[in-house]
Amino acid sequence: MSDNKWNITLKIHRQKEDQPPYFQEFHLEVDPDEYVLDAVERVWAFMDRTLCFRHACHHSTCGACGMRVNNVEKLTCITPIRAVTQDGGVIKVEPLRNFPVVSDLVVDMSNLYARMEMVGAKAVLPVTQAEIERPPATWPADAEQYLRLTDCIECGLCISACPSAATSPSYLGPAVLAAAQTVGLTAETLPIIDSEDGLWRCHSAFECTAVCPSAVDPARRIMNLRQQVVRQRLSSLLKKS
């Protein structure tokens, strides 16, 4: 933290019940090394207790605090104020796109969770299956019993940023396809994935990977799924002939 203080304006999307959405401005003095979520919390704590937003862990593990900050999807708990505005500047905070707004900055993500379940997404995987930067040359014999949290924190940023998801309500979305790639294709999941609303709906905008705060790299996983599906189709064609 620095001794330097900034005066900023937080322009927050407000929306309750059937009322039309609008932006409300809050003027705050902040430490530029604080995070956007800290500023939103301060508005709730000292200025307006009716402000609704989601958060929990404050360290990018729970995926609850995903919002749009100055038009870009961010995990607000790890987005420094310094990175998105300047002294005297404005930070526009909006809910994620492509999810129903429940209230203010809170969106209903139940559809995402249901789809994750549909493709068999797992919260943990054996450490040997994890994509880690420097895996050991050989794993210990008992390594399979050790589990590691999967990288995806189900924050929904990728679905909010995806232009294909904006126009196709039934599109599974990057997070779901990435989860399918992580757990592997099965006979049950293949028809869901290899479909119009599955991996062929992706139009390669790579926005999912650009906003992902957790190194899931959904775009790469979608492209990898395509390779797998094409390989499977070709081998089944060859078997038939």
């Binding site: 959405p21 999807e73 999810f99 129903p100 998801a165 126009t167 196709s168 926005e207 990977t209 990898n224």
Partner: protein, 130 residues
């Protein structure tokens, strides 16, 4: 609940063209759509112009004389530009779709667009000077 404006819907296709908050891959996505629409529009204009042939050689020749005007040459250059931008970006999409150079898609985009701009400048030079 007033939630409809935030929900995905086919009518929101205009959001495809909104560059605000988009990053390199998103700009490439927008560019591909704009150039695709431009090329499709050109195809229809081209067919209309060819329809002049049905009105006899004089009608066609007088239209062709009109196309020597700088404004028409500029229009033709736009078609050439769209073809290069769309075609080269398309190569990038095909390759990345099948796993080739996915981690380098941004650099790939910049390299191909540089190539496209060079080609457009060369074509433009020849079109306006010959």
């Amino acid at each position: 609940m007033n939630e409809k404006s935030n929900l995905p819907a086919p009518r929101k296709f205009l959001s495809w063209f909104n560059p605000v908050g988009r990053q390199t891959g998103g700009w490439a996505f927008i560019l591909n759509r704009i150039t695709a629409l431009g090329l499709t529009l050109f195809l229809y204009i081209h067919l209309l112009v060819l329809g002049k042939l049905a009105q006899g050689p004089n009608a066609y020749d007088s239209f062709v004389r009109l196309t020597h005007q700088p404004l028409f040459i500029f229009g033709e250059l736009l078609v050439v530009a769209a073809a290069f931008l769309h075609g080269l970006n398309g190569v990038r999409i095909v390759l990345t779709t099948f796993g080739i150079s996915v981690p380098y898609q941004k650099q790939f985009f910049y390299a191909l667009m540089t190539l496209a701009i060079i080609a457009i400048v060369i074509f433009g030079y020849h079109m306006f000077t010959s």
